[in-house]
Symmetry: C2
Subunit: 201 residues, 2 copies
DNA sequence: ATACGACTTGACCAACCAGTCAACAACCTC
DNA sequence: GAGGTTGTTGACTGGTTGGTCAAGTCGTAT
């Protein structure tokens, strides 16, 4: 039935890389097609618009990220250590990207969401959706940490939101300053925000 | 000598508003000229490129913001109250913009810096410069708070950086979620991050 | 083997993009 | 009021933008 084709996957990968490294607005459909080795006609066979590709890109990235988060934030892992592992993973991703592109690229979701947030409601909502998923991991780890007496347990939801806001800020700042410093401090700052003594690494 | 003209100021104001509300990439020189009521030829009489206008926009905004910060972060104001006033001002700005545009717009510097950070080094560096200025206000207030015994005084520089990262995250998140919530929580979260009991408002 | 739908191709479009330019108008100084 | 500088105008360019389309190609289920 289906004629086998890697075009769709190639387009998603190319778009993800180009938008992350540059920006949504400065990445043209032609750029994406060129990197993917796909003709523009095929692009519009798979995606009805550039915005729809961006959304597919987010979905694809989330599908790949979810099992990783499930592992890191597994209830088997000591609650505070989950954040340590998460911070380390984020640092590794950023270092890898930075080595590849010569720039600190920050969070692809954050950058994209901030760029088009006021203009493309579909993309904005999709980014917000993924953020909401992340928040659940933070909340769960914070509640577990509180129940083990590792941190103060009042208003876990507020702590989780604060943490997410901070993490998002770290990525944005790293990109703007073109400096991995904020990502390197992620681990320490998370523990500080949670009010934990930094010995759970 | 100089023929009086408001064109330059109009262009800066128009660019500031349009880029803040939308994005750098999606704001064309024609758009800016149209809103400013200025012909494109005049644009290029005052600015050598779109990027140079963006930089002039940042400079102009900073020149207007500096005396406000000097007042809020005056040594005359109790250290922790400075953050409270700052948070309130930020909320007022955001509410005003939101009412005007129908969207939570976040921090214009942050959004712009994140968008073009990997592509335009001049703009990126200019945004980073303004961030560095802000950091000094935070550091000073934190040191003052510590010397008054209001908060723990170990590693004020780290606390200031953490705070700035958080504040930046709050703006980005507010924009992406199209929700003033993160800005409304600014006051409380800042005090929590500083480890202060929330009674200095 | 044939037929059908999934995929590909390259040419095409109108709109828009940042930036240019030569001619012109208004102001200030002298 | 003459002259030089500063600001203004609108038409122009060459390239790029997101998106379209008709014609073709290929795999596969029957």
């Amino acid at each position: 039935m289906a004629r086998p084709s890697q075009a769709k996957e190639n387009l998603i990968k190319a778009a993800y890389d180009l938008i992350w490294e540059n920006s949504y607005g400065s990445t043209s459909v032609d750029d994406i097609c060129a990197r993917a080795g796909v003709r523009k006609g095929s692009f519009y066979h798979f995606f009805e618009s550039k915005a729809h590709l961006a959304i597919a890109t987010i979905d694809s990235a989330w599908t790949k990220r979810l099992p990783v988060l499930n592992e890191i934030f597994s209830p088997v892992v000591p609650p505070l250590e989950r954040f340590g592992r998460y911070a380390l993973l984020m640092l590794e991703y950023q270092e890898e990207r930075c080595a590849l592109t010569g720039h600190v690229c920050g969070c692809p979701l954050s950058s994209l969401g901030s760029e088009v947030g006021t203009q493309d409601e579909l993309i904005r909502a999709k980014v917000a959706e993924i953020f909401a998923h992340h928040l659940r991991f933070y909340e769960s780890a914070i509640r577990d940490a509180a129940s083990e007496g590792l941190i103060d347990g009042t208003d876990s939801a507020f702590k989780a939101r604060t943490l997410q806001t901070y993490i998002q800020g770290a990525f944005t700042q790293a990109r703007v300053l073109n400096d991995l410093g904020p990502i390197r401090q992620l681990d320490r700052a998370i523990l500080a925000i949670l009010g934990a003594v930094p010995e759970a690494a």
